[in-house]
């Protein structure tokens, strides 16, 4: 199958280095301490953060740092064919773990000992790149909850099909069998916190693909900062400052 046509356009009409449209909103779950929705094209996720609060299970309490937990769930209607999934299957457990580890790396957990922070991500529509979208939504939700962080974490994926590096794969491209590199970075510190790849790539091409994904992360970062700034401004207006 041809994923990049001779004119250099992808299946959904994007250029190889073009991202899908990003959309984010803060405060979508009003009862949570922090929440956000994040859309990358047709992929749409919601993240809600509860905490820092008392540790629910005393045996998990840590006296020098906060406990960070994460649960990833997919809505029944999120995928094309309707499937009733059981909670806690291997895939969602793995993604929960990935998100938890990524977010834990940027939260200043030592500032909140003996407390717990819960991150819940809910996928409403899955069209490739749910992992990245979940991390971006979780970052926004944590920022909304006012949880101290080293930096924002942003994530983006890139792949390699028809000898072209492609940014931000959608479902069709993701299931094409080519390499899929998901990268998460701390943009200000310029550090990589998450790196996953399946399939295989030659070393020099991998470097290009990863570089492309990092560029994607930086683009996501500037968008997220814009949204946060906008949100702060509206909060300021509400306070009448």
């Amino acid at each position: 199958m041809e994923y990049v046509n001779p004119e250099g356009l992808r299946l959904d009409g994007r250029r190889p280095m073009e991202m899908r449209q990003l959309r984010a909103e803060i405060g979508v779950v009003s009862r949570a301490d922090g929440s956000a929705s994040f859309e990358m094209g047709n992929t749409k996720v919601i993240a809600a953060v509860y905490g820092p609060r008392e540790v629910q299970n005393r045996s998990q309490q840590m006296n020098d740092q906060a406990l960070v937990r994460c649960e990833y769930s997919m809505a029944n209607f999120s995928t094309g064919d309707r499937r009733r999934k059981t909670k806690g299957d291997r895939r969602s457990t793995e993604i929960s773990l990935v998100i938890r580890q990524t977010m834990e790396a940027c939260i200043l957990t030592n500032l909140m000992p003996r407390s717990q922070i819960d991150i819940y991500v809910q996928v409403l529509q899955a069209d490739g790149g749910t992992r990245s979208a979940c991390i971006n939504a979780a970052t926004l939700a944590l920022a909304d909850a006012g949880i101290p962080m080293r930096d924002l974490v942003t994530s983006c994926s890139a792949g390699y099909l028809n000898s072209t590096p492609l940014l931000d794969l959608n479902y069709l491209e993701d299931s094409a069998g080519g390499a899929d590199v998901t990268v998460g970075i701390l943009p200000k510190l310029d550090k990589v916190t998450l790196l996953q790849m399946d399939a295989k790539l030659p070393m020099d091409i991998f470097e290009n693909v990863m570089q492309l994904a990092v560029e994607g992360c930086k683009a996501v970062d500037s968008y997220i900062r814009e949204i946060l700034l906008e949100n702060t401004k509206t909060l300021e207006i509400h306070r009448g400052v």
Binding site: V29, Y120, V121, Q122
Partner: protein, 288 residues
């Protein structure tokens, strides 16, 4: 769970007794309702309903299936509710299962009518394609994103909105050679049929707090309830389903009184909901 002090509890109860609740509503007033349709593009129909801080999504997916042997002339409708942990941390892992099942069963009872299909919001016979062979299976999947009480009414409204947003492809049955052969069908991807949703009831839940009952209780008010009665009423003022929850017993005369109040309230709710759905559909048409 909501943690309330004795003072707060008394304040809420006192407010209800004086017909002025915490958020300024009267006992029989709903919170503002907000409807958005077509939120899930890959479904046949979908809607998101916000009722105060309660936020739910309903989606309808149609699949070709086989009618039940007991009712060869009817299609099938299934309702599933899922409670996302974003709404309440206690819903994580399997924590929301109990509530999900309770809500699914209550919704099926309120909206789908009896086994024979009598009193159903969607006429199951209209889902039939070929008797005994092919029919539409409607899967109604609901997701609770944020919960601030009165989930059942919000879910009922979301399902009604999602059904009126639903388009089912027109299907043509090719004449099969012999009767026992698998029926051959042509699913059109251009022509879509709309449902007649005028018969879909709305659910009105009356929550009894102290000596009075209120509609559209918030989760604070729900934590004080002694019992609640959910009544589904359709356009013609007919009662399509009834569920009582909560431990305390109710006097039969009170229940009859509640039903007549619910019937009255449902008229306003239906009108409000219909105009909201219409506005949402209009907004959808204008957008692209």
């Amino acid at each position: 769970m909501v943690g309330l002090s004795v003072g707060e509890k008394n304040f809420i109860k006192g407010g209800i007794a004086q017909d002025l609740r915490n958020d300024g509503r009267k006992r029989l007033t709903y919170r503002p309702i907000y409807v958005e349709t077509g939120v899930i593009p890959q479904a046949n129909g979908s809607a998101r309903v916000k009722l105060g801080e309660t936020d739910v999504i309903a989606s309808v997916k149609a699949e070709l299936g086989k009618p039940r042997v007991s009712h060869p002339d009817q299609g099938k409708v299934y309702i599933y509710v899922e409670c996302s942990p974003t709404a309440e941390p206690s819903f994580e892992r399997r924590g929301g299962d109990e509530l999900s099942t309770e809500l699914s069963i209550a919704l099926e009872r309120s909206l789908l009518g009896g086994k024979s299909g009598a009193g159903a919001g969607i006429n199951p016979a209209s889902l039939l394609i070929k008797e005994g062979k092919v029919c539409w299976d409607l899967y109604v999947d609901c997701l609770v994103i944020s919960s601030d009480g009165n989930l059942l009414d919000a879910l009922g409204a979301a399902i009604k909105a999602a059904l009126s947003n639903t388009g089912i492809p027109r299907v043509q049955v090719r004449e099969a050679a012999s009767s026992d052969e698998q029926a051959d069908v042509d699913v059109s991807d251009e022509e879509f049929l709309q449902f007649d949703t005028s018969g879909v009831p709305v659910i009105v839940t009356l929550t009894k707090v102290g000596r009075h009952y209120i509609v559209d209780a918030t989760s604070e008010e729900e934590s004080l309830m002694s019992s609640a009665v959910s009544i589904s009423v359709n356009r013609h003022g007919m009662i399509c389903g009834l569920t009582k929850r909560g431990g305390a017993g109710l006097d039969p005369s009170v229940i009859l009184d509640m039903i007549s109040v619910a019937k009255h309230v449902s008229e306003q709710l239906l009108n409000k909901l219909d105009s909201e759905i219409e506005a949402a559909e209009r907004a959808n048409e204008e957008e692209p």
